[in-house]
Amino acid sequence: MGKEISNEYGSVDISEGVIATIAGAAAIECYGLVGMSSRKSTDKVVELLGRENLSRGVVVAIQENEVTIDLYIIVGYGMKISEVAMNVMERVRYTVENLTGFSVNKVNINVESVRVLE
């Protein structure tokens, strides 16, 4: 499915997978986020195959041309979770919008767990 931009020269199709990868890559560079929490069975298959899975813990839904991104994250202990979540939200939105040209409707952050860093 994905999302499409078109003009008189033709059209560009960007799939959910691409948006998920961009979102995932942007998220793991966010400070305070120490892991992504797998949500889909396909995540596990990809990981079994030993590939780096950037879209792990990212679910992208495109409905009626609106992009919604759900992220399932793990935050390091000792950090203000609300701030980390806000940063992830901002950064993911900014990066996806900047790279794809789509406007992102919502970025939902689900903090799945907190990890204690020795």
């Binding site: 560079e29 966010c30 400070y31 892991g35 000792g78 901002e90 950064r91 900014y94």
Partner: protein, 553 residues
């Protein structure tokens, strides 16, 4: 903690009260300059609030510290850690809170800290901060704080006192900060350094000002303007240190020297000021614009001894130069594939370099590089697989022998006979591909281009049915003479016709050093007018001997 013999290290300490002052001064310094930091903010999201966020974070830390009645450094640091955690705002605020948390862990149980413990605390902060991110982005506050901690450790281990230790931390952090645009392209595009890193250094500068002892203010009643020149001069230290390039040091001997007075008088004349000693003997250290004025001033008090003046600008440059060399050495991490090409002409060399050739050797028809020359170039390229593009049939053999001289690298000769073939091969080079893919891709590209050259005859000769006179213009296709004549343009046109350029998609022309741009333009115009659907590319190749090198694809 294991204590090393005291004598080696500075025994100056920082007590809890001073630690509190440091935090306050950090707030003050950032308050004064947060707009400057906001203006730098382009990463990770350009919303221009980094300075404000960091300020609110450290302010919350300082408020918590004020509530502590105890005087142990560890108690205050713990309060700072808790305060910054609760008040953390924004990405850099969160990172700052982790740096402070790591510092608090490091000083746990200590009443006061010496320079080494202070440096170790900074390092511990960096260690903690780095743990809380999956993929640290370099060129940010993380990089700057890491380098600052390194500087601090170095200085403390050399016996620096706490002020000198922090000065070195700021100096080194500043260097890292200046390099952030090279690491993060978004910064370079915006022409700024990293905002978070700048904010962190401003805080550290505040700490230095506090330890120099002349700042005392209450966090709740922050004056609208910097309290007085001395504090902010010291606060600006190092950040603008090149404003005061001369590091001036001397001993002042006299009677009834008033240290406070000397310090106050000198503070206006530079930064990183240090005035210590007794009424009979004072040591002065200052970074200044004009060492002469400092010495003149000191002469009023007594006699000068062991005067040392260094130009730090020159030192910095020397160090920058050293670092550049180490950096270059560091870059030489072996990659998988490297390319060595033989070619000639400035313009063509540039094109090859742009296309990713690691080493370009000049040579060609009349000056073939030897096997040893090529092997030498191969040695300079740190890669496991080296592809050689001889770009001339006379050089292929020399290239094939290179493998015998090189033991630690795999050599693959792509038998390109002309510049055009070399370029076609390069366009099919995939730096991240496999050896097989590259060999196959590059070799098959060779046959897809037709090469033509236009040069001149050095003597009379007979070739097939052509009668050639010395000075004739010659057209060659795949190395075989096909046309001759007296007129450059018509020979060039005929050569292209023999290459069936009208059936091609793209004709590339490199004109040599003996051809005027206008002549080349004339040829280009003719090509475009007679066959508009063929793409024409024209480059100044700058090659000797050949007027034109053509390639038709």
């Amino acid at each position: 903690m294991v204590l090393e013999p005291e004598a080696v290290f500075s025994d100056e300490i920082v007590n809890g009260e001073q630690w509190k002052q440091m935090i306050r001064a950090g707030v003050q310094a950032l308050e004064d300059r947060k707009r400057e930091v906001d203006a730098l903010n382009v990463f990770p999201v350009p919303d221009g609030d980094t300075g404000t966020n960091m300020f609110l974070t450290i302010q919350s830390a300082a408020k918590k510290a004020e509530e502590i009645k105890g005087t142990m450094v560890s108690e205050i640091a713990a309060a700072v850690s808790a305060g910054s955690l609760m008040g953390a705002r924004g990405n850099s605020g969160v990172i700052l809170s982790q740096l402070l948390r790591g510092m608090a862990k490091s000083v746990e149980g200590l009443y006061e800290v010496n320079a080494r413990q202070l440096a170790q605390a900074l390092q511990s902060g960096v260690d903690t901060a780095y743990k809380a991110v999956m993929k640290p982005v370099e060129g940010t506050i993380l990089t700057v704080s890491r380098e600052a901690a390194k500087g601090a450790l170095l200085k403390a281990n050399q016996g620096g006192n706490p002020v000198e230790t922090l000065c070195e931390a700021v100096r080194r952090g500043q260097e890292a900060l200046q390099k952030t645009p090279d690491v993060l392209p978004v910064l370079k595009q915006a022409g700024v350094v990293d905002a978070g890193g700048q904010g962190f250094l401003i805080i550290l500068s505040g700490w230095i000002a506090a330890l120099e002892g002349d700042i005392a203010f209450n966090i709740e009643e922050i004056p609208p303007k910097p309290p007085e020149a001395e504090g902010s001069a010291a606060g600006n230290m190092a950040l603008d240190s090149l404003e005061y390039p001369y590091c001036t040091e001397f001993l002042l001997k006299g009677r009834d020297l008033i240290i406070e007075q000397i310090r106050k008088d000198l503070a206006r004349r530079g930064d990183c000021l240090l005035v210590v000693g007794e009424p009979e003997l004072v040591k002065v250290h200052i970074h200044t614009k004009n060492p002469g004025k400092i010495l003149d001033y000191a002469m009023q008090w007594g006699t000068l001894h062991e005067i040392q003046i260094h130009n730090m600008l020159a030192q910095n440059e020397a160090m920058a130069h050293d670092r550049k060399e180490t950096k270059e050495a560091a870059v030489a991490v072996p990659k998988e594939h490297g390319v060595v090409a033989v070619t000639m002409g400035q313009g063509i060399v540039e094109i090859f370099t742009k296309l990713g050739v690691d080493e370009v050797l000049t040579g060609g028809q009349t000056m073939n590089p030897s096997t040893e020359d090529i092997a030498e170039a191969v040695r300079r390229v740190a890669a496991d697989n080296i592809y050689i593009l001889p770009n001339n049939s006379n050089i292929i053999l020399a290239a094939l022998q290179v493998q015998e001289l090189i033991e630690d690298k795999k050599i693959h000769v792509i038998p390109s006979k002309s510049i055009s073939q070399g370029i076609a091969a390069l366009l099919n080079f995939i730096p991240e591909g496999t050896v097989e893919e590259n060999i196959e891709g590059m070799e098959s590209a060779l046959s897809r281009v037709q090469s033509g050259e236009v040069t001149y005859a050095v003597r009379d000769s007979q070739f097939d049915s052509l009668n050639i006179a010395a000075g004739d213009v010659l057209g060659l296709v795949e190395g075989i003479i096909v046309v001759n004549g007296r007129d450059l343009l018509s020979v060039a046109q005929n050569t292209l016709e023999k290459m069936n350029w009208r059936q091609g998609d793209l004709v590339t022309i490199f004109y040599g050093q003996d051809v005027e741009r206008a002549e080349a333009d004339q040829l280009e115009k003719w090509l475009k007018e007679s066959q508009p659907q063929v793409d024409i590319e024209i480059h100044a190749g700058g090659q000797p001997i050949y007027f034109y090198i053509f390639s038709v694809e």
